[in-house]
């Protein structure tokens, strides 16, 4: 998986170590550690995973395996305004795929990618538990319901100058 090479600052390494310590450096807490670390850094670059593997005393391949298994975890920095399109059953049958295609077309990126200016990223999720609002799109903290592909342009416009 392509990932931007970064060098972690000492302080950042310490932050990761502290998170691991909160979970007693237990390998069984890997998902919680990854969750917390991603909320701190916004994503999980390989350098971060190396520290986590060391701290939890588990293989790097396993950590990478878990990071790539769960769609919530990402190895590329997410955009300032991350767009999550729900592709759960209800959203899917009500046209979520078309909505997703429209986001991809407008932003010229694929799922899992971030626009060059770092503003937007697209992710697809499986069911956010708001099936009554299907199809659902979440941008940052804001939820949009009954979205159609025609709405995509206006949604993006909201964030243009933010």
């Amino acid at each position: 998986m392509a990932t931007t090479e970064i060098v972690l600052k000492e302080k950042q390494v310490q932050q990761i170590k502290d998170i691991c310590k909160q979970f007693n450096n237990e390998s069984g807490e890997l998902i919680n550690v990854l969750h917390k670390t991603q909320s701190l850094f916004g994503y999980l670059p390989s350098e971060v995973q190396v520290v986590i593997a060391q701290e939890l005393n588990m293989s790097l391949a396993k950590v990478f395996g878990v990071v790539t298994f769960y769609s919530y975890f990402t190895m590329t920095p997410r955009g300032e305004h991350p767009i999550d399109v729900c592709m759960g059953t209800a959203c899917y049958v009500r046209g979520a795929e078309k909505v997703l295609e429209e986001f991809k077309r407008q932003l010229k990126i694929e799922v899992g990618e971030t626009t060059l200016d770092g503003k937007f990223s697209i992710n697809s999720l499986r069911c956010v538990g708001a099936c009554g609002l299907a199809p659902v799109v979440i941008v940052g903290d804001k939820t949009y319901g009954a979205v159609t592909s025609a709405d995509v342009k206006n949604i993006l416009k909201e964030y243009e100058n933010k």
């Binding site: 998986m1 390989s46 593997a53 293989s59 391949a61 990478f64 790539t68 298994f69």
Partner: protein, 584 residues
């Protein structure tokens, strides 16, 4: 122990609670096909992710089919192992697996020994009714192992071996759904990962996804070059397994036929790694006595226990995972490398040729030996001490390419001087053998008394970790033995924590030692094969006229004519090495 009764194909069987349907079926000789499931009986090695669904059976009163490998029997269960529904389901499952598999059987390295191929035949698959996306992964080559993940069926046997048994942690399942595959961290090349090249992943892979680097073509080219003298050395574990590739019973000893075959293939001289194993004992045994003497005299700079160092995957393991303990293993090179170092100096001089014109080939039960032969510290001016290392499987291919009737070859003897060996050299091929060989010599060198016995049963067996105390004429020597890197890790962690009470520890990476090596004929999960090879090793030892390394006449001559004394200056230069921190 609670017993329960189940009925399989109208046969009633009583089994212990907790037995799987597959286990119960075995008891009444009902054959349920499996693919992802893998078990080495008595060796605590099992893979049952229940993922492939080939072993499904029909259970009365249950709506869906049950995977036999991952479903426990319950009281009164009635099972049908080959109803129409079951057979159709298995065929469908197989076709779905094959729909994402390259049809390269004719040119695949695993053809003929492939579990997937033989199962497809067994199930009578003649057409794939599904057409869909095909996986596409780049080929990953390393000095020892090739990963061709387009052929991976996600049985995860390799992942189990790498993580549970070996605790190497190079491989893991990554991604999900169609994209899931077994890979390294960040999909890096195997050679940059924590891989030790033990090859246990290769030895359990049911398809051609994991194979060894094939060096046979390079050897054929070297043999055809008139400017080169090509010699070969064969490791002890090869002679007790090679016969399997030619349909012989496991445990058949084919030493003589192997030598004859190698001569007919065109090797100028056929030698024995066992000779170098005897040499290893001279150096390693002397080192142990030296360290022991200093330690007992109170020298705090000398560390004990001393660990053996002849297993190349083990060396890779501690260089990558225990770089703080590089001063604990013996500095003695492995027999393969000792052979190369002596061949390209002593022997080349005797033969009157330059080292560049001498090609040294080794036949090993091992894939890590390929990497070992390529290490920079084992080269002189870029010329390696061992030019090519091939596995037992590759030797079988080489023989099949050149000779038609291996079975009817006469028994021939190794050439001298580097073909003379003792029973101590032979037992290097099994777990417990190196330390037994070391004890046989170290005892006599230390006590200057004749050993009262030659067989040390307390050092033998297949338990993952064993220990024994050997009385060196009043001095109790505590010995530890581990095979499988997961077991080695336990002993290493004990040493690191100061809990170890051993003087010497033997470590071999592969379950069973070299007899179960990553380059051996595939055992397909039959631990009886590994046991038969082990019995053959001890039989070969028992049949040898000389069974102590220090009594090998050609070894004595080598020290007289060339090396001087064990641990002497020349020995130090040619037969010892150093270790490097390779942690990334």
């Amino acid at each position: 122990m609670e017993l329960i009764k189940v009925t399989i194909d109208n046969k009633v069987v009583e089994v212990e609670k907790g037995t799987t349907i597959l286990g119960a079926a075995k008891k009444v000789n009902v054959d349920i096909p499996t693919l992802c499931h893998f078990k080495l009986h008595d060796m605590n090695i099992e893979n049952k992710p229940g993922g492939c669904r080939i072993c499904v059976v029909e259970v009365d009163g249950r709506k869906n089919l049950a995977p036999a490998c991952a479903t426990d029997c319950t009281e009164g269960m009635v099972i049908k192992s080959h109803s129409v529904r079951v057979i159709n389901a298995r065929k469908t499952v197989m076709e779905l697996i094959l729909s994402d598999h390259p049809f390269e059987c004719l040119v695949c390295a695993k053809s003929g020994t492939c579990d997937l191929q033989s199962l497809a035949q067994q199930l009578g698959i003649r057409k794939i009714h599904f057409e869909g996306k095909k996986s596409s992964y780049r080929l990953d080559t390393s000095p020892s192992i090739i990963r061709e993940m387009n052929k991976c069926i996600m049985c995860r046997r390799c992942e189990m071996m790498c993580n549970k048994v070996q605790t190497v942690g190079a491989l893991s399942a990554i991604n999900r759904g169609f994209d899931s595959v077994v890979s390294t961290a960040f999909e890096m090349n195997l050679k940059n990962s924590t891989c030790t090249y033990c090859g246990q992943c290769v030895s359990v892979c049911p398809t051609g996804a994991l194979t060894e680097v094939d060096d046979t073509a390079r050897i054929i080219r070297a043999l055809a070059d008139p400017s080169k003298t090509v010699i070969v050395q064969t490791a002890p574990a090869v002679r007790v397994a090679l016969g399997e590739e030619f349909g012989m019973e496991p445990g058949t000893i084919v030493t003589g036929k192997m030598v004859a075959a190698l001569r007919r293939i065109g090797f100028d001289q056929v030698f024995d790694t066992d000779f170098a194993a005897d040499l290893t004992i001279m150096e390693e045994g002397s080192e142990l006595l030296n360290r022991l003497g200093k330690h007992l005299a109170g020298d705090k700079t000398v560390k004990l226990p001393m660990l053996t160092s002849c297993c190349p995957a083990w060396v890779n393991f501690f260089e990558k995972q225990f770089p703080d303990m590089l001063d604990i293993p013996s500095t003695a090179k492995s027999p393969q490398q000792m052979f190369g170092a002596i061949a390209k100096t002593y022997l080349a001089d005797k033969m009157g040729i330059k080292r560049e014109d001498l090609v040294v080939v080794s036949v090993m039960p091992c894939l890590a030996k390929k990497y070992e032969a390529q290490r920079d510290e084992f080269k002189t001016n870029g010329n390696p001490d061992v030019d090519f290392s091939i596995s037992t499987r590759e030797l079988a291919h080489l023989i099949k390419q050149t000779i038609r009737d291996f079975d009817s070859l006469p028994d021939e003897d190794f050439d001298r001087p580097m073909g003379e060996s003792t029973g101590a050299g032979v037992i290097f091929g099994t777990t417990g053998g190196v330390i037994e060989a070391a004890v046989r010599s170290a005892y006599e060198l230390h006590t200057h008394k004749k050993l009262p016995r030659l067989n040390f049963e307390e050092l033998r067996g297949l338990e993952g970790i064993r220990e024994a105390t050997i009385d060196f004429d009043g001095l109790p020597i505590k010995i530890g033995i581990a095979h499988g890197l997961g077991n080695a890790r336990k002993l290493l962690e004990d040493i690191r924590a100061g809990r170890s009470h051993f003087h010497a520890i033997e470590i071999m990476s592969c379950p069973g030692g070299c007899i179960g090596g990553g380059g051996q004929p595939l055992h397909h999960g039959h631990s009886s094969i590994i046991k038969a090879r082990q019995a053959a090793i001890y039989k070969e030892d028992a049949g040898k006229a000389i069974r102590k390394s220090h009594e090998n006449p050609d070894i004595i001559k080598l020290y007289d004519e060339f090396l001087g004394t064990p641990l002497g200056e020349k020995s130090h230069h040619l037969l010892h090495t150093e270790y490097f921190n390779r942690k990334k």
